[in-house]
Symmetry: C2
């Protein structure tokens, strides 16, 4: 049986439609919905990412403010700017583009962002609220993976879930979210002995390692929900480049019940989650 | 083979000796080491607990200040007191005894306690720092379970760990701490289908459910490390009362390699962890 494809692009488009509607309603109530993204010491890649982020915001009616600070900005200067954005009622979401220059401590910046405006969910306070089951903003990629699982309608209660990869903003949060839904959750790592054996028990398998094809077709339980968070650039034998996930998609889709493609799975949904968090910030105003 | 008993009382006594020495050194440097415990609307049980806590502090040279507020204290009044304690350089640890009166929001109180003074590790910021692998203060019971596991010398890297119970301040933190040591960690719940089968795969089994004897002898893998976080008061058929853990100790000790008793396991170690956190607060001064 070939798996149903979880079309992240289409699902994200629907979410964005809902967001657009909510933004319209908020505006009609006189509320601003605005993302302030900080770029410290801009690179070409950072600038390009910001341009696309601005387009994604404006497409749903969210105002976008790119706050550029020079490479020489001090920790105190960047923090002062974050505090000004915290105080600005027109700004409903704040994020800091990474990487920041070496002399700037990104963790200390993230801690400065007010919980409700921390749209990436990376302030330790937000991660802790998630541990407490009282999440305000959850890291967007983790939330995207979780929401895509929910679109399948598969029951999470009592399901066996395996998360491969224990990163702070993907693996761990996804594991906690699934546990809160009463799944039995196992956190594996790429180095877990008999990784294949562990994965084969999973009704829900989330791959978040960042290694192309580490999850083979024989890792998949029949009918499982497979969510591929990996985004890996590989070079094919003929020299062309391609973006692939952590899962061997062609082999896995023959066994899985549902599977996300890469690209077009978790990626577009992550963007939609970020936009949704900006709107949440506006609602709480 | 009968298991080695992990003697929490003896291990905690050693930890307290080390703490006493550290407190002595800090004092000789002119530093204060002081726990301020807040009791809002005191009950007899709360008062008695506080008395014993004060004794535990003084036994290692830590000053103990019991801050009593009347049952009628408002949220703002309790928060103002916490903020005063945050500012007081003589206070190196703050905790709020639970329960607080119904009209007081305990979570909002815990959020007010400065991370380094939050000796119970219950401020969401501290839980988040733990998710990020940069823990300041970790919830004491979780830390106690983790430290007792480490005393066995069993290698955590690649080990199969099962945590039964997904509470915010025990199950989830223990799971995250074990994952950071590169164990493969599964979080089960009392309602997990085939709980016994899951537990039997565990090289390290942490029971943190709060149900007397839910973990039977047949749940234990030969040679496993078994940490029993449960503290349950039960009434025996003859009417006498007894404190037991989540694990059927007598049966489990015939299969386990190491096992904590209840009482005398995680409980005394938890007290030691709290005292250690008060000292950490003083070191950072």
């Amino acid at each position: 049986m070939a798996a149903k494809i979880i079309d992240g692009t289409a699902i994200a488009a629907k979410v964005k439609e809902q967001i657009k509607e909510q933004v319209g309603q908020l505006k009609s109530q006189g509320k601003r919905v605005r993302l302030a993204a900080m770029l410290v010491g801009a690179t070409a890649a950072g600038e390009m990412y910001a341009v696309r982020q601005g387009e994604a915001c404006r497409a749903v009616g969210i105002e976008y403010e790119l706050v550029k600070l020079p490479e020489t900005a001090t920790q105190a200067e960047v923090e002062a700017k974050i505090e000004a954005l915290n105080r600005d009622p027109a700004v409903t979401g704040i994020m800091v583009h990474l990487p920041v220059p070496r002399h700037v401590d990104e963790a200390r910046l993230q801690q400065k962002i007010e919980l409700v405006k921390d749209v990436e969910g990376v302030n330790p306070g937000n991660l802790g609220m998630m541990v407490l089951g009282r999440a305000v903003n959850v890291p967007c990629t983790a939330m995207a993976a979780f929401e895509l699982i929910k679109t399948t309608g598969v029951s999470l209660r009592g399901a066996e879930a395996v998360v491969v990869g224990a990163s702070e903003i993907v693996g761990k949060p996804v594991a906690l979210l699934l546990s809160d839904e009463r799944a039995t959750v196992q956190i594996c790592r790429s180095a877990t002995p008999d990784l294949a054996g562990h994965c084969r028990k999973a009704d829900i398998l989330v791959a978040a390692v960042g290694k192309a094809g580490i999850i083979g077709g024989d890792f998949i339980k029949d009918g499982a929900v497979v969510i591929d968070v990996g985004i890996n650039r590989i070079t094919l034998p003929d020299g062309t480049k391609r973006t692939v996930g952590d899962v061997d998609f062609d082999a896995a889709k023959e066994k899985a019940g549902w599977i996300t493609p890469v690209p077009g799975g978790v990626g577009p949904m992550t963007v939609a989650m970020l936009l949704g968090n900006v709107v949440r910030g506006a609602k709480s105003n």
